[in-house]
Symmetry: C2
DNA sequence: CGAGGCGTTGAATGGCCTCAACGATGGTGG
DNA sequence: CCACCATCGTTGAGGCCATTCAACGCCTCG
């Protein structure tokens, strides 16, 4: 649905925010006609392939991004070279918020699925935010959402045994879904989200498959046994 | 109940924000005389003892708090009853920001040292934030600071061996300090920050003391061997 | 003085990591 | 079209490190 609408105009470059199919839930939700008239900068819209980076940590932060569909990982690096995925951004999430306050990005933002992106200048948001209470409120809500996510990753995905963490991640992936079906990421990425190794992740997933807690319906799409996974997650 | 009694007893007067000694670095830094005239609600100021809770997760969130001195931990609970400390708030930090956007608090906020607090109504901040760009900007900066902290806890304090995590926590505790001396928390709290057990924390600290990476100058105040701790943290 | 909290230490277990090998898959070039 | 290679998921074996359960000393406080 959403996907069809946008794929039609994909690659075309300039977005039509007034008629955006996600308008109701997007950062610019509260904007009115007079606000749009003040946006003179182009708002680009494009699709990126898995593995493509939107930006890297330390890059000049002059754009914000809205994820229209797909998924991006936000990655931070450790002194020893290891990496840790600190958050996922999915439909309607905004990434690069730090560009409003700081002069550089904090993470690498990399697509892990084919991902539709809208990109708009931080300057536009700063300008509109100054005297638009609705946008102001929308910004606060998004910052708070990111913060809640970050806290949840600490308590749910970085605490307890590997079995528990994997189960919690799986449950989290289907939570805001219509069905109890979900697509998995690479074992390496899942490990980087959970603070465990690729091998341990693989072993755990394989065990869940053998126990039919996970059933592969189509390649890389799994049906979850939610009650039993929840039991593991909470025990 | 107990909490309210303590808070009331600790009340040490109505704050004089105009002449606040922390004014330059506090949330209300950008306010002018005309703004203060619009604050009709009282801004309380008090001291709480270690172990006292400012609020609990789920409480009605109608106040924000500034930490003037001391330290508060923000705690989240797991389904199995375990607890995880997701952040520390120290001088000039604001806690309870979520009250601006949601109707309840996300964590337990508990003092871990004698702590001076200013408390002000969320509705005052909401009102002033609507048309005060400086406060607006200040709020965004604080949200971003909290988010950066959360991400750092994931990458630095929840990744790697227990030795590394403890070392990174110690370095973090002295970082915004004038000396390389710091006060430690209980082993239980440190474990809850690092996602490791109390015993492992104690063993690691004890080992560092034997190796003179930590030297106790006065009871519970330690001098850190920063270069060598940094080596451990990054190896 | 006894009780309880806290830090420390010991011993044993087990879970996760490390290193390694192997099959399946998919893309590439001959 | 197929041989070749790289990547990814899986599995095994072995070892280390953190957890678990327990005990003990020290301290404060009632």
């Amino acid at each position: 649905m959403v996907k069809n609408v946008t794929l039609r105009e994909a690659w075309s470059g300039e977005a039509d925010c007034r008629n955006c199919s996600l308008r109701a839930s997007v950062l610019f939700a509260g904007l009115e006609e007079k606000d749009f008239e003040r946006i003179h900068d182009p708002i680009d819209q494009f699709v990126i392939k898995p593995g493509t980076a939107l930006y890297h940590a330390g890059d000049d932060g002059d754009h914000l991004f809205t994820v229209r569909s797909g998924t991006c990982k936000l990655v931070q690096y450790l002194p020893d070279g290891g990496q840790r995925i600190v958050r996922l951004a999915r439909t309607t999430d905004v990434i690069g918020l730090e560009a409003l306050v700081e002069d550089h990005y904090e993470h690498d933002a990399v697509a892990v699925q084919p991902t539709e992106i809208c990109r708009f200048p931080a300057r536009v948001v700063r300008m509109l935010g100054r005297d638009n209470p609705k946008l102001h409120r929308e910004l606060m809500a998004r910052w708070q959402r990111a913060l809640s996510e970050a806290d949840a990753w600490l308590t749910e995905l970085s605490t307890g045994s590997a079995r528990q963490r994997v189960a919690r991640l799986l449950l989290r992936l289907v939570r805001d879904q219509d069905s109890s079906e979900c697509e998995l990421f690479s074992r390496e990425d899942m490990g980087a989200m959970l603070g465990i190794t690729t091998e341990t992740t693989s072993r755990t997933i394989a065990e869940y498959k053998r126990q039919s807690l996970l059933v592969e319906v189509t390649p890389n799409f799994f049906l979850l046994d939610i009650p039993n996974l929840r039991r593991i997650a909470e025990e």
